[in-house]
């Protein structure tokens, strides 16, 4: 039921690496290094700016993939990757979108499981990719039955 979604993607959404959001995020993962929020430390660094923690892209809006209806319950986050060309800078604009990369089913301990692989991107204003990430979401048979009902 997700197979026909492979290749679909969302429209790019403009996000900003907001100073307050970065600080709050860093606090929430106990990564309170001044490089994330102290302006002077940022200016003194090789980046000349504050940067964001590597898992910060979790907060971005990636737009909507038309026709992809994921339930908000019963999903298991199986795997996650990030690839960076460079760290994200506080204050910069990032254009984000997602794509359905793959979907397959496999027999597991809990019956037939579905694996949905979503690929997400963050580009700069010129269209150069700053980061990409993949999330593998596991969907159990029970949840899929509810969805197709």
């Amino acid at each position: 039921m997700f197979k026909d979604q492979i290749g679909k993607q969302s429209n790019k959404v403009k996000n900003v690496v907001e100073r307050g959001a970065v600080k709050k995020f860093a606090e929430s993962i106990g990564d309170l290094h001044p490089i994330y929020f102290d302006e002077e430390v940022g200016e003194q660094s090789r980046y000349r700016k504050n940067i964001a923690p590597p898992t910060f892209p979790r907060v971005f809006d990636y737009g909507v993939i038309e026709g992809l209806n994921l339930p908000n319950k019963g999903l298991i986050h199986g795997e996650q990757t990030f690839h960076y060309v460079r760290p994200l800078l506080v204050g910069e604009e990032v254009y984000c979108y997602s794509k359905v990369k793959n979907y397959f089913e496999k027999k597991g301990n809990f019956g037939e499981m579905g694996f949905l692989v979503l690929e997400s991107y963050g580009d700069d204003a010129a269209g150069n990719t700053i980061f990409s990430s993949t999330s593998t979401v596991v969907i159990s048979e029970a949840v899929r039955k509810v969805l197709t009902r």
């Binding site: 709050k24 995020f25 290094h33 923690p53 986050h77 199986g78 996650q80 960076y84």
Partner: protein
């Protein structure tokens, strides 16, 4: 602060042991990340989902794990970070974060990274490729 350049294959970064996981940790992460799935914060919702209690966001643990590398920000950055979520993290679990240098190739350092619970089980395991300037 030492530098990553001095690190030899098989050597580890300094482990970090987190405080026992609290509900407030997960409430804060929900707010900061925008992931308000209630199985991470509300007992009833967790039990409705068949869980013995609320569980931490996988991304909370993954976010924590990356901080092993933060202090080296002038030397390089995390180029690749890939994780498999292997076990659930419950309230009061004491999680230890680890990174071992596995391979060095030119300016790329590959680390095996893991988050281990109080029973010694990996809850999260994967790899960091650190790009040195």
């Amino acid at each position: 602060m030492s530098t990553l350049t001095e690190l030899q294959i098989g050597e580890s970064l300094k482990d970090i042991q987190l405080e026992p996981v609290s509900r407030m940790d997960l409430i804060k992460y929900s707010g900061a990340s925008g992931d308000f799935n209630p199985i991470h914060t509300i007992d009833d919702e967790a039990s409705k989902a068949g869980l013995p209690g609320i569980i931490a966001h996988g991304m909370w643990t993954m976010g924590n794990l990356a901080k092993l590398f933060t202090e080296y920000y002038e030397e390089g950055f995390i180029e690749d970070y890939s994780i498999r979520f292997k076990g659930m993290v419950f309230l009061n679990d004491v999680i230890t974060l680890k990174a071992v240098l596995k391979e060095k190739e030119e300016n790329k350092l590959s680390f095996t990274v893991q988050a281990v619970n109080g029973q010694g089980k990996d809850v999260l395991k994967g790899e960091v490729v650190y790009h040195q300037y």
